[in-house]
């Protein structure tokens, strides 16, 4: 019965899907796989110990935390708000797109400004809606809903596809160690290089899509009046 070796994978899939404690899932899957795979208790502990020590590179984020918090304390978020605040009279689609570029570039340096709660809500949303309100109209409720959705989407996509360009990000390190356990040794810098066209394409295509979507929505809800602003 070779199939029983897959129990660990089943545990991972079902465990995550049912939102069980992540560490409990991984530990159970490790124990079950080691026992049914014939590693035994000693084999389990030795494999766990060896691979954890071999993967200490993934703890590099703790070293980076030595400055992350202090950067925040010294006004990083305020500087970022000021940087994007220099843009005046832009349409919602343009504000979202510019934020996407800024977030993508900083993500490649592993720098974040506080997420949806810390940055999108207090800084990006007022900028995006301000352009519509500047023409003397109240923002349409459905348009506002879509601006919120697009801002969050831009936030996520720029971060996901920007951060893979940071050498030493968790994604690249996990790929490196997964490949190493299969006998393929790869360099972090090569993993980053391969991702550059993908990162640029992903952020670019999202900006274009949101820009066009916003343009269509403005036409639908406010007629042509707002268009003149561009």
């Amino acid at each position: 019965m070779e199939l029983i070796k897959l129990s660990g994978i089943i545990i991972v899939i079902i465990g995550f899907a049912l939102k069980k404690d992540s560490i409990l899932i991984i530990l159970s899957a490790a124990i079950v796989t080691a026992l049914v795979g014939g590693l035994g208790v000693v084999g389990l502990l030795e494999t766990l110990g060896t691979s954890f020590v071999a993967n200490r590179s993934m703890a590099i984020f703790i070293l980076i935390m030595l400055v992350t918090g202090t950067l925040e304390r010294n006004g990083l978020k305020e500087a970022a708000a000021n940087l994007i605040g220099k843009v005046k009279r832009a349409s919602p689609g343009m504000v979202i797109g510019l934020y996407g570029i800024m977030r993508g570039i900083f993500a490649a340096f592993n720098v974040s400004f506080g997420g949806v709660a810390g940055f999108v809500r207090p800084i990006i949303m007022p900028m995006a809606t301000g352009a519509v309100e500047a023409t003397g109209r109240d923002i349409n409720e459905e348009h506002l809903e879509q601006i919120k959705g697009m801002s969050s989407g831009m936030e996520n996509i720029s971060w996901f596809f920007g951060q893979v360009l940071f050498i030493g990000g968790a994604g690249g390190l996990l790929v490196q160690s997964t490949l190493a356990s299969l006998g393929y040794n790869v360099e972090l810098i090569d993993l980053v290089k391969v991702e550059i066209p993908i990162g640029i394409f992903a952020i670019f295509i999202t900006i274009v899509y949101y820009f066009l979507k916003d343009k269509k929505l403005r036409k639908k809800y406010y007629g042509d009046g707002v268009e003149r602003g561009e």
């Binding site: 560490i23 494999t47 400055v67 340096f109 996520n156 690249g172 160690s177």
Partner: protein, 314 residues
């Protein structure tokens, strides 16, 4: 200390070991600080978690593997029992951050970008490796911040890192534990079993079909698990290695783009609540799926681009 004086071992490997010791000591500090913190509702559990993690990070190379394995099991217990908590935190006030911004201004971007710049320089122009570059960048960033303001004393950096580490908590160990799980899957021969199963469906030897199945599998598994990191371990061992890499495809392209194929799945699922559901609440949106609906079209286009890219560059 033979490791550090051995001339056979590269200077990069030695420096990296020094960085791991610093990382371990910061982690042990987090454990000790919380263990003595009366404001922490679970002092013992929190201290056990961070101290055992710190010991493996700092000194794991000197400890026999089986002992490391036991310490890691001990580490997971308080986490599973939900006994790792946050204590008293000294977060910066809005006033403090604005006052600092008035003083430092846009120059704050210099230390913020230093880490990434150093990582690139070290990766391209030295043989010490990107991670030693990250360490050098962190050091440079600390020095620049200290020059900017006399308030940035060494203790401030240490306390701020403890604050962030405690906030992200045990879940920050997820990638490391998943990588270890991948190693256990490989050691137990899980890959071979999946390969023989899937081999009945996918024709062996057709790398392009293998790539498509691997990429779509990454997307689908990430959607089900809400997490591309968990998916990449399982999918690469089960599909990526036997059906794509075994036929000579480039592991750099397949592994890395496989991960970002998984990210496209993460964009399309309510299982990834942190990214897709929490913002709905924070922005007071009406439609619970409002963020996901705005991500499906870009995710689909990016997915197609990635599959073509993998096939062309394999």
């Amino acid at each position: 200390m033979g490791f550090f004086t051995d001339p056979e071992i590269l200077i990069g490997a030695k420096l990296l070991e020094v960085l791991y010791m610093i990382i371990g000591l910061v982690t042990i500090y987090t454990g000790v600080k919380n263990g003595m913190d009366e404001k922490n509702p679970s002092r013992t559990g929190t201290a056990i978690f961070w101290c055992s993690l710190g010991i493996v990070l700092a000194f794991g190379r000197l400890i026999p593997p089986i002992i490391n394995g036991i310490i890691i099991i001990i580490m997971t217990i308080p986490s599973i029992l939900n006994k790792v908590k946050v204590g008293k935190q000294n977060a910066p006030t809005q006033e403090e951050m604005e006052k600092s911004y008035d003083k430092i201004g846009m120059k704050i971007f210099i230390p913020a970008l230093a880490i990434g710049v150093f990582a690139i320089i070290f990766a391209l122009f030295t043989d010490m490796g990107a991670l030693v570059g990250v360490g050098a960048g962190v050091f440079a960033s600390i020095v620049i911040l200290m020059i900017f303001s006399p308030n940035n004393k060494p203790g401030v950096f240490l306390r701020d890192s403890e604050r962030l580490l405690s906030t992200v908590g045990p879940l920050s160990m997820l990638p490391m534990l998943l990588a270890s799980l991948g190693a256990i899957f490989t050691a137990a021969g899980v890959g071979e079993v999946i390969a023989s199963l899937v081999g009945n469906i996918i024709p062996q030897g057709n790398v392009n079909i293998g790539i498509i199945v691997y990429a779509l599998g990454m997307m689908l598994f990430s959607m089900i698990m809400g997490n591309a990191f968990a998916a990449i371990t399982v999918m690469t061992v089960g599909i990526g290695a036997p059906f794509v890499l075994a036929y000579g495809a480039n592991p750099v392209v397949i592994g890395m783009v496989g991960l970002t194929a998984g990210y496209c799945g993460t964009l399309c699922t309510p299982m990834a609540a942190n990214f897709n559901i929490v913002p709905v609440a924070m922005l007071e949106m009406k439609d619970r799926m409002g963020v996901i609906k705005n991500q499906i079209v870009p995710a689909g286009i990016i997915m197609i681009f990635q599959i073509v890219y993998m096939i062309l560059l394999k």
